[in-house]
């Protein structure tokens, strides 16, 4: 495991620039604490001060896959910190002419980019870009591999909504009127919390990042879905730190244990011909009002988006009082500010 190798320290030299975030595996628990602490500090800063943090710095957003939330929040995060941003997408660049990822990265570096935020359909593309350019690279989602900033924003959302208290880093809930929460991030922060991740685990980088991060903070992660979307190999996500990851095929049984229910979209674009009976899927795995009331009346409901309403989740759940889906987006903006500041090596 990568973080195990890192923990051994001096012998393994990372081939990636400091501040890169390619996978949650690279993050120690202390790193997570530091990122969330910085998130809080940046959030509390007044807007003018914040706009000077990355003044004069240049961030490139390199997007090979469509994105609404992630792209916009990284862009707004960078701009709110005063950085200059440039967006390069595969549809409107020399990528269309066959330029390689390496050469695209080198070109951005030559144009002054100091950090590249990359979204790519190929698992592992951020490692390649980080090695080729030597720049800090923030993985904004690579294939079916990782989406580390999503796991961090999901963590922050949980800390806020589950009102987990501690002492060091400030996490303010975006729920109007809710008390501001102070969370101490350590290996037991989420002890006793069960997070059910349900749906298309196989194709989900969000599931991988969460399943590899949350247990290291003490959470029990239960993966739930049919065999086609959740093979036994998913247990390979177990880092050996924290409670062991479990697979539960029965959604109702999983929900009855859930403090958090994280729903995932079926990624039809990655199904690659695999047959799936959608009607049966909806019957067994859709999170609807009836199921939620019966099995998990107080669980927090999360979804990384995009949602397919009527498929994995229904309106009354997505828009209901247990839902934290919009807050996730807001926390995304906050966490990504901290990741950009960290990537560019600025103290804030």
């Amino acid at each position: 495991m990568a973080h195990a190798a890192l923990a051994e320290g001096d012998r393994v030299v990372s081939p990636y620039a400091v501040g890169s975030l390619l996978s949650v595996e690279q993050l120690s628990v202390a790193d997570v604490a530091e990122i969330l602490a910085m998130t809080g500090r940046l959030e509390r800063m007044d807007a003018d001060e914040r706009a000077r943090v990355l003044k004069g710095r240049t961030v490139a957003l390199l997007f090979y896959e469509s994105s609404t939330r992630t792209r916009t929040s990284f862009e707004l995060a960078a701009k709110s910190l005063g950085a200059t941003t440039t967006l390069v997408s595969d549809k409107s660049s020399s990528i269309e002419k066959g330029e390689s990822l390496k050469d695209t990265g080198l070109t951005l570096r030559a144009l002054g980019a100091e950090c590249i935020v990359l979204r790519h359909a190929a698992s592992g593309a951020p490692s390649l870009l980080a090695r080729a350019t030597g720049l800090p690279v923030l993985n904004a989602g690579d294939g079916m591999h990782q989406h580390p900033s999503q796991a961090l924003l999901d963590l922050r959302t949980m800390l806020a909504r589950l009102e987990i208290r501690g002492s060091t880093s400030q996490v303010s809930s975006s729920r109007p009127g809710a008390p501001s929460v102070v969370a101490d991030i350590h290996a037991g922060t989420l002890a006793g919390v069960t997070v059910v991740i349900a749906g298309d685990i196989l194709h989900s980088r969000v599931a991988r990042s969460n399943a590899m991060l949350l247990p290291r903070l003490g959470a029990k992660v239960v993966l739930c879905g049919p065999e086609e979307l959740l093979p036994e190999d998913a247990l390979g996500l177990d880092t050996g730190e924290g409670p062991a990851i479990e697979i539960e095929r029965d959604f109702d049984a999983a929900l009855r244990r859930a403090d958090v229910a994280m729903m995932l979209r079926i990624q039809r674009e990655r199904l690659a011909g695999a047959a799936l009976d959608l009607e049966e899927y909806v019957a067994r795995y859709q999170l609807n009002g009836e199921r939620l009331a019966a099995c998990a009346p107080s669980a927090l409901v999360m979804h990384p988006g995009p949602m397919i309403r009527g498929m994995e989740i229904t309106d009354e759940v997505a828009d209901g009082p247990q839902s934290a889906i919009e807050e996730q987006v807001t926390h995304g903006l906050a966490v990504r500010r901290a990741l950009l500041v960290r990537a560019l090596g600025v103290q804030a």
Binding site: A2, A5, L6, V12, V13, S14, P15, L22, S23, S100, L101, K102, H120, A122, S123, G124, A125, S127, L128, R131, A132, D142, G143, M144, H145, Q146, L202, R205, R208, M212, P231, D233, A234, L235, G236, L237, A272, G273
Partner: protein
């Protein structure tokens, strides 16, 4: 008359059961005599120094034979040429290599085969070839086996792709059987491996890569063995199936059983499959998504690696073959799923075989040499090679079996550097390679 003396070495020739201190006299490209040390003193006094090789402390063995290499010529000479690939072969102790047909164009005709084997290609070692089993390696219509064997073909293969259709494979096996050559199968059920870039399992899941199941290999092997049984039952033909680069316990179990039943099946294993596992793909220190750990069949799980070692030890696997597959750095330095399959292997095969099989798993030195000389010669029916028997071609490798060293990809004779073994520990270093009595490398 040309002579060469190889003095003071330990001659290990498994085909003759030889393992003793001997001097070797080579005359006119053939082994003329092997005698206890001192017998050639008279001759030694009269021969000039450059025609005497002091092999003290070294093993003197039959030149190594690799029945599975990709030399990329014609058509892909930015990766390798016949001259550079065979120079790498000589550096690795190989004196005979068999070129695969997946060049551009595919080697599926007598003209193509003759072009490849022509002296103008400047092969540095004895060059043989397996032309395509089907036209264009498209898997539909078999090539002209009789004419190709007449022109020197030592077997047929669509390597890189399987012959998928039962009827086409049956026709290939029958046609090759009549000529006494093997059909060499790349065992992969490509209906199960679309979009896959490594071994299926937990590592692939963690890395978010689609995985090739072990059944993709074993199903084709089992299908081919069924065809062998049917053909033997229905006709008097006795076809020879050779299974390339076997990588799974499941396929090896099927081959072991078929051998016990007396079917004519042979198989090979590649050094990377007995040395590395799928973990090499996600090795953090080497950089994750290491495309130099990407090949087909892929690196498998530890249990499969150990099954390959066991099958080498118990004789189920007939020979070691490198599947030397050079690619330019710009082709490998891309997203993992887009990178081409394959790694170089000619210069690291002996060092890995001695390290893993001899040192770590206790295989006798003579067995390692047999797996890389006499036995591959047997698979393709090579006469007068693979042994130092008097009268054989003087193809010889002289190596220091005890020396430990680190392979350096930058020093490779190959045009390409795509190896996962840059900096890896090797045991045994080639000191000289002799082909038909000529010193190819010293």
């Amino acid at each position: 008359m040309s002579e060469l003396l190889i003095l003071n070495g330990r001659v290990v020739d498994p085909a003759q059961g030889t393992d003793e201190a001997c001097d070797v006299l080579v005359r006119d490209g053939r082994v003329a005599a092997i005698e206890p040390p001192g017998r050639f003193t008279g001759l030694s006094n009269s021969l000039p120094n450059e025609l005497q090789m002091d092999a003290a402390g070294c093993v003197v063995a039959p030149g190594l034979i690799d029945i599975h290499v990709h030399l990329r010529e014609p058509g892909q000479t930015h990766k390798e040429t016949i001259a550079t690939g065979t120079a790498a072969a000589a550096a690795g102790g190989f004196t005979t290599v068999v070129a695969m047909p997946n060049t551009t164009p595919v080697n599926d005709s007598v003209a193509g085969l003759e072009w490849m084997l022509a002296p103008e290609r400047q092969s540095q070692v004895n060059l043989l070839a397996m032309p395509a089993a089907t036209l264009g390696s498209m898997g539909r219509e078999i090539t002209d086996y009789a004419a190709l064997v007449e022109a020197g073909a030592v077997g047929f293969t669509d390597d890189g792709k399987p012959v998928l259709e039962d009827e086409v494979m049956r026709a290939a096996l029958l046609a090759a059987a009549r000529l006494g050559v093997p059909v060499s199968q790349h065992a992969e059920d490509t209906r199960m491996t679309g979009g896959c870039s490594m071994n299926a399992g937990r590592v692939a899941f963690r890395l978010g890569l689609r995985g090739m199941p072990v059944e993709a290999e074993s199903r084709i092997v089992e299908r081919d063995l069924r065809l062998l049984r049917e053909i033997e039952r229905e006709s008097r033909a006795r076809p020879h199936l050779h299974v390339q680069h076997v990588s799974t316990a499941r396929a090896l179990a099927a081959i072991r059983e078929a051998k016990a039943q007396g079917l004519h099946v042979t198989c090979e294993a590649a050094p990377h499959h007995f040395t590395l596992t799928e973990d090499a793909v996600g090795d953090y220190s080497a950089g994750e998504y290491c495309t130099n750990a990407k090949m087909n069949p892929p690196l498998r799980a530890e249990a499969d690696r150990l099954a390959v070692v066991e099958a080498l030890l118990d004789g189920t696997i007939d020979c070691i073959a490198t599947d030397h597959a050079p690619h330019a750095s710009h082709e490998k330095e891309v997203e993992f799923e887009r990178a081409p399959n394959g790694i170089t292997g000619l210069e690291t095969a002996l060092g890995l075989a001695l390290r893993v099989l001899h040192r770590e798993h206790g295989m006798a030195l003579g067995r390692v040499i047999a797996l890389m000389s006499a036995q591959p010669a047997g698979v393709i029916g090579l006469k007068q090679r693979g042994s130092l028997r008097v009268g054989s071609y003087a193809d010889v490798v002289v190596f220091d079996a005890g020396v430990e060293w680190k392979y350096r990809a930058v020093a490779s004779r190959s045009k390409s550097r795509n190896t996962p073994f840059d900096g890896a520990e090797m045991v045994g270093r080639v000191r000289a390679t002799i082909g038909r009595g000529a010193i190819l490398r010293q």
